[in-house]
């Protein structure tokens, strides 16, 4: 996994600032210039700061940190020819 930039939880705010995002009163990630607009994952789920695992290419696809989301990410990153599913 060479094509990766990692960050620890302490640097999440920097990443969110970079992509012009902030946090609303309920801890959901929102658009900084439109705080009523919560950021969604590719499954259409809103995402709390604690659940935020990262971003991948494709109009800024936000990723959750739960196991099921990471499995989906693993499949998305995998060569389709070697997938078991």
């Amino acid at each position: 996994m060479k094509k990766v930039i990692t960050f620890d939880k302490s640097a999440r705010q920097f990443i969110l600032d970079t992509f012009n995002k902030s946090i609303d009163q309920e801890d959901y990630i929102v658009e900084k210039d439109n705080p009523g607009q919560r950021v969604l994952t590719s499954d259409g789920e809103e995402i709390k700061l604690d659940e935020f695992a990262g971003i991948k290419k494709g109009s800024e696809v936000f990723i959750k940190s739960d196991l099921v989301s990471l499995i989906k990410l693993s499949d998305d990153l995998k060569d389709p020819h070697e997938s078991v599913r």
């Binding site: 996994m1 060479k2 094509k3 990766v4 930039i5 990692t6 960050f7 620890d8 939880k9 302490s10 640097a11 999440r12 705010q13 920097f14 990443i15 600032d17 970079t18 992509f19 935020f52 695992a53 990262g54 971003i55 991948k56 290419k57 800024e60 990723i63 940190s65 739960d66 196991l67 099921v68 990471l70 499995i71 990410l73 693993s74 990153l77 078991v84 599913r85």
Partner: protein, 264 residues
């Protein structure tokens, strides 16, 4: 001009031009150095960046994403890599392949996640967060499949059940699925003691589960517990259940688990 080219001058380090060959990790605290290279990774402490350095690093991050790099929390990356290793193990791939097309697609997803959880548990690590993730996403069905998988039932019970049914001349997938559905929703073979259950609740649940098992002609039940507290609960249960049992329970103990098979 590539923003990477501007960064060395701003941050004033001569090795920054090597960034393309190194992994980049971002952190934010007041104790780590501003920049540090460690085992092929360049760590940048954003807390210690000067205000004029922020936009440059932000541009690097944005450009990297546009170029197809993944931005990911370090712990999530560890889980992702660990999952990939476990998921590619021959026995796991074969089991998933075996059940593909035989059980619902959603259950394959749950089974896949559960096989990972089982592996992590067998390494002696805490799996409560992983289990919560599965239950949050898939509800009680997720919990049941996870429990059945952890106890090895997909290999020891469900696969043999399918093969036995398949060998019958009147086999149909729907017949198998009808029984499979009972197994994953009612778990007639197995009961898992939870730490939140009182002794009485555990006893009531076991009696209920025995009743379900009897209904399907199953005369045994496996009771599982993980952790000392649950092990003690099972010991109490066995004393109370003794009059109803037809033979001595078979007890398998590990360092952190107990599995008891009772016949009734």
């Amino acid at each position: 001009m590539n923003p990477l080219d501007k960064l060395p001058k701003l941050i004033c380090i001569d090795f920054f031009s090597k960034l393309k060959k190194l992994s980049l990790n971002l952190l934010s605290n007041n104790c780590s150095p501003k920049i540090e290279i460690n085992a092929g990774t360049i760590n940048i402490n954003v807390y210690k960046l000067k205000p004029k350095e922020f936009p440059v690093l932000q541009e690097v991050v944005k450009t990297s994403l546009e170029e197809g790099k993944l931005l990911i929390v370090d712990k999530a990356k560890e889980t992702l890599e660990d999952f990939k290793k476990v998921d590619s193990q021959d026995q796991n791939r074969k089991l998933l392949e075996y059940f593909k097309g035989k059980i619902p697609t959603k259950d394959i997803e749950i089974l896949r996640a559960s096989l990972y959880l089982k592996n992590v548990f067998e390494r002696g690590e805490n799996v409560s967060n992983l289990k919560d993730d599965i239950v949050t996403r898939y509800g009680d069905r997720g919990r049941n499949i996870c429990n059945l998988c952890s106890a090895g039932y997909f290999t020891s019970q469900i696969k043999p059940l399918y093969e036995e049914m398949y060998s019958q001349p009147d086999f149909s997938l729907n017949k198998f699925l009808a029984i499979y559905e009972i197994i994953v929703t009612e778990s007639p073979y197995a009961f898992f003691i939870n730490s939140w259950m009182s002794d009485k609740q555990a006893m009531d649940e076991v009696l209920k589960r025995m009743e379900v098992s009897r209904r399907y002609g199953i005369k045994y039940l496996n009771i599982h517990g993980i952790g000392r507290e649950n092990t003690e609960k099972i010991a109490t249960l066995l004393k109370e259940l003794a009059p109803q049992l037809t033979q001595t329970p078979e007890i398998t103990r590990g360092e952190r688990f107990i599995a008891v098979k009772i016949w009734f």
